[in-house]
Symmetry: C2
Subunit: 221 residues, 2 copies
Amino acid sequence: MDRLVHMAYDERMQSASKLTPKGTATRERIVEAAADLILARGVGGTSLDDIRAGTATSKSQLFHYFPGGKSELIGAIAAFQAGRVLEAQRPYLDTLDTWEAWQGWRDAVVAHYGSQPHWGCPIGTLASELTGNDPTRALEVAAHLDHWRGHLRAGLARMRDAGLLRPEADPERLALSTFASLQGGLLLTQTMCSLEPLTAALDGALAALRSWAADPSGPAA
Amino acid sequence: MDRLVHMAYDERMQSASKLTPKGTATRERIVEAAADLILARGVGGTSLDDIRAGTATSKSQLFHYFPGGKSELIGAIAAFQAGRVLEAQRPYLDTLDTWEAWQGWRDAVVAHYGSQPHWGCPIGTLASELTGNDPTRALEVAAHLDHWRGHLRAGLARMRDAGLLRPEADPERLALSTFASLQGGLLLTQTMCSLEPLTAALDGALAALRSWAADPSGPAA
DNA sequence: GAGCGAATGGACCGGTCAGTCCAGAAGCTA
DNA sequence: TAGCTTCTGGACTGACCGGTCCATTCGCTC
């Protein structure tokens, strides 16, 4: 997987080495609870003591499971959030071959973020905050975004090949545009504390996609 | 102005009270230089000592001109960046009444961010990072975003009233969608260190707008 | 139960950070 | 020059934070 490629060597060794069931459970508990804390208060606004308190663990455990310290913990959280957010878009994300699938995807995304306890995108926020502070880790987070966007691109490419999109449509560029709408919608969702920016952004993105439909009369609603 | 409404009482007094020409020059020098530092390294990644070094000032000057400390300085930087970014979109931003004006606006935005020394949106990044750490200041930054978006909405409303957009078009929602594309494009621009996400996002946003054009054949390219 | 490694608790350390304070220089007015 | 305010320098502080260390407990295997 993409994720492993971008992990440092010693981190891979750490993950793969001896951890008892109890250990892995504790590690997961830390990641999940810390993910919520950081989503709510940001990386810079969350101290290891906050995480320690929020997960009912001790300082030594944090460094036991994440020898790389806070940075490695952030990486694990990013991977966890990436997995969660992709999972919420199944099965549509893998089968974006029809206009109906895109609409289903849109609804799944809205439903997922509407049910979250906090506003905003866990990955996009991380990527933005890490750029400039922890460039290495930022690249890793950016890889998650690329992976996510790749699913959109793949769907668009299949639609073009199937004749649903005009031949001159550029899946790469359209995926970029659609993904930007999604991320921007989530950013505004965060600052405005409302789901409407997201729905408006996604509807706009789908309208932009439909403008590339092969059928001149446009796809069914 | 919006900005003043959202400033704390004592800050308004501070800004309005006695500052010699030399003082105002120093204050501006601090804001401009600090703005670049924070844009490059984020709020959390920039200490007052960094700013002190980068502006050739002393700690006491920072607190002399910004009694509210770092938070107040951030507010001043946000206002400064908001002014700068709006200025770069003139005169199009005030006259988004035709499809040509929208295209000109798109080009102006791309040109501005392409000429910046750093990637990403100074305001959007700030808003995202402040949410959860400094909610009061985050609201102030969000007000700048709202003001910016208001220009788009006003233009769309005028276009609908002029019959260029279909009557059922919702300027508020379309502005939200367009602005989300812009912000998302800038976010991806930051993480990917490329201008292409921004151009793709804006082209997509304009395509979405054109899908609401009154003329069924669509506006001229 | 002996032995061993994993898991846990928590005191501790060095560094950094935002913010304070005071002394003094610069500049303006009379 | 006198006297005031503004402006500037930099030492200092108290809190916090990431990270280290060691002692103890747990849980598994012989």
